[in-house]
């Protein structure tokens, strides 16, 4: 059920060192790529059907193709290692266990797109992953994999690890770019897209860690082989981070299209204490929630999840058992979005706070019946009205929680406490 492509080196002794990585064939794909025409690599990535693994799922080869071939300015790569989507921890595993695979992926990607400088934007909270990738970049420089004239024909590449400082919004690609430029991470209006005007006003590719780490595998095995895992429209493998009420939480690399049931009930061992799965957020906290029944009947690929009214997102799966109060769960999530709104767009800055407070009040059993419609009215005015999608990321789960568990929300109205947990979490009293 699991297919180990990106996770193949996990568990090898000192897998994060250059010596261990070279022992398993590491950096051989750089040589192969240097012998290929850059255009041919972009074409290969297009044929593989690889889609961005950070959350949006945009085809990677196409993204690379948007970067102007001829440019007076240097081109940049920003590797998005700002993994912050609640429920997602796969990039942390990749950085901790196999950082050299990321460096190798960076070299190949930069050769393909003609990029001179790469930054790895890593979230500030990451300690061990930061030390591991810093050490890997240093080793790669010492061994001559990075620096000047890498292919003997004048290809130069410098890689710098850049540490964030605690802000979810810097995972949004233009927020990341602003942050890298030494500013508040407030997203930019698009267009222009980063491929044309990105960091320092130059053409820029922003790709997720898992996306870049897929590149060496594609170079080694080819597009056809890559497509042997996954479905026609969602080819390849995907790393899922599974947490919540499952017996074996963790990172699982599975072929896209695997039934969600298999991941939850077989690979993760099912629900703790044999309880019923009440709900499942399959792709990170920003995607619409599924009921347990819906989750048990959906396949994990972009198209099937879209048909089920949700999204694959970052693959950060949060599983909830029968005892979980959905109003409480939504309150916990909305605390996060209100905290992380960067504040530049009014519908998001105000909206995330309003819906959080309304749900806090409902959770405490002090809500009114009309609060439910008020919530939906606010979320309707948040979606599509802001520079980036953080407002949507707060609004979509809110709408789906109410739609799928409306009776539970109604049962809280006037109850004086949470009828499911028997007590209130008193979020408001602790709001600060």
């Amino acid at each position: 059920m699991e297919i180990k492509r990106l996770t193949k080196n996990f568990g090898n002794p000192e897998s994060w060192t250059l010596a261990a990585y070279e022992k398993t064939g590491g950096y051989q794909m750089v040589k192969k790529a240097f012998a290929m025409d850059p255009e041919a690599i972009i074409e290969l990535v297009k044929q593989s059907g690889l889609r961005g693994r950070g959350g949006a799922g945009f085809p990677t080869g196409m993204k690379w193709g948007f970067v102007p071939k001829q440019s007076d300015k240097p081109k940049y790569l920003c590797v998005n290692a700002d993994e912050s989507e609640p429920g997602t921890f796969k990039d942390r595993y990749l950085l901790e266990h196999d950082p050299h695979a990321l460096v190798e992926g960076i070299i190949i990607s930069c050769w393909a797109v003609g990029i001179r400088y790469a930054y790895i934007y890593i979230r500030g909270e990451f300690g061990l992953p930061y030390y591991r990738i810093e050490a890997a970049v240093k080793e790669a420089y010492e061994k001559g994999y990075l620096g000047s004239n890498l292919n003997g024909k004048g290809f130069d590449l410098d890689v710098t690890v850049h540490r964030g400082a605690g802000a979810y919004i810097c995972g949004e690609e233009t927020g990341l770019i602003e942050s890298l430029e030494g500013k508040k991470g407030q997203p930019r209006l698009k267009p222009p897209f980063p491929a044309v005007v990105g960091v320092f006003g130059c053409p820029t590719v922003v790709n997720n860690v898992e996306t870049i780490q897929s590149i060496p595998w594609i170079i080694e095995h080819g597009a056809e082989e890559y497509r042997k895992a996954g479905t026609e429209k969602s080819p390849g493998t995907k790393l899922f981070s599974v947490s919540g009420h499952v017996k074996r939480p963790g990172v699982y690399e599975i072929p896209l299209g695997l039934p969600c049931k298999t991941l939850v009930h077989d690979l993760c061992g099912g629900i703790i204490d044999g309880k019923r799965q009440k709900a499942n957020i399959v792709g990170g906290s920003s995607v619409p929630i599924l009921t347990g029944e819906e989750a048990d009947n959906v396949d994990l690929d972009y198209e099937s999840l879209a048909a089920a009214g949700t999204m694959l997102g970052s693959g950060g799966m949060i599983v909830m058992d029968e005892d979980t109060c959905m109003v409480w769960a939504l309150a916990v999530l909305l605390k996060f979005y209100a905290h992380e709104s960067c504040g530049q767009c009014t519908p998001c800055r105000e909206g995330t706070g309003w819906i959080r407070n309304l749900v806090y009040r409902l959770e405490a059993g002090d809500g009114k019946r009309e609060d439910l419609d008020k919530l939906l009215s606010i979320t309707g005015n948040m979606m599509g009205t802001t520079i980036c999608v953080l407002a949507d990321a707060a609004a979509m789960p809110t709408e789906s929680f109410i739609k799928k568990f409306r009776a539970e929300f109604e049962a809280h109205v006037g109850a004086g406490r949470c009828p499911i947990r028997g007590k209130s979490a008193h979020f408001l009293a602790h709001a600060h």
């Binding site: 993994e83 989507e85 609640p86 429920g87 997602t88 921890f89 990039d91 942390r92 500030g124 909270e125 990451f126 300690g127 061990l128 930061y130 410098d158 710098t160 850049h162 540490r163 964030g164 400082a165 605690g166 802000a167 942050s179 430029e181 030494g182 500013k183 508040k184 991470g185 320092f200 947490s243 919540g244 009420h245 939480p249 963790g250 990172v251 957020i281 906290s285 950060g316 949060i318 909830m320 769960a329 916990v332 999530l333 605390k335 996060f336 905290h339 992380e340 709104s341 960067c342 504040g343 800055r349 706070g353 407070n357 806090y360 009040r361 008020k374 408001l428 602790h430 709001a431 600060h432």
Partner: protein, 184 residues
């Protein structure tokens, strides 16, 4: 709608914007200056080195005081207001001295599903402080933090730059005792 909770005075829920220099001078050590000069070679302009310079400053001075903001703004030729804006935007730059051990407990969904709130209660009781506070002996600071990307070890916390989990109300008490012994 009627405001139910008292609105935060500023967006980030942090201290108000009043900053006044106490006139104390701060300066990087020679070794840090060397690192700073190397840092500048990694970016096409000085402004881009702001986040890493602030990290270095926090390591060296412990927290980002108004004097540090002024010093960094001189180093990078940026207005102090810009540096202040950046410092206050991100959660990991501290505008006050912190305890030797900074415990940040995740209170996002995966950790809360696994009993994060009981761990938080136990921590507050054990340390005798609330969120955002530091113990009188300067040993511990306690905060909540959003998802640390370590949900497989929920409920988890970050202690300085290490992750710890899964935590229980009992294990977190032992953890605090160990740290206290280590810190003496």
């Amino acid at each position: 709608m009627q405001p139910y909770a008292k609105p935060n005075l500023d967006i980030a829920g942090r201290e108000a914007c009043h900053v006044e220099s106490m006139g104390h001078s701060v300066a990087f050590s020679d070794a840090s200056m060397e690192r700073f000069r190397h840092l500048l070679t990694r970016y096409p302009n000085k402004q881009a080195a702001l986040l890493p310079t602030l990290w270095m400053a926090q390591q060296e001075f412990g927290w980002i005081s108004t004097e540090v903001i002024e010093y960094v703004s001189e180093l990078l030729e940026l207005p102090p207001s810009h540096v202040y804006g950046v410092v206050s935007f991100y959660t990991m730059y501290y505008r006050k001295p912190m305890g030797k051990y900074h415990i940040q407990l995740c209170t996002n969904l995966s950790c809360m599903l696994m009993g994060g709130s009981t761990v938080l209660d136990a921590l507050q009781e054990k340390l005798g402080i609330g969120l955002g506070e530091t113990t009188a002996d300067g040993m511990f600071s306690l905060d909540e933090v959003e998802c640390l990307a370590a949900c497989e070890m929920a409920p988890c916390c970050q202690m300085n730059d290490e992750y710890h989990g899964p935590l229980t109300p009992e294990s977190v008490g032992r953890f605090v005792d160990e740290l206290r012994a280590r810190g003496k």
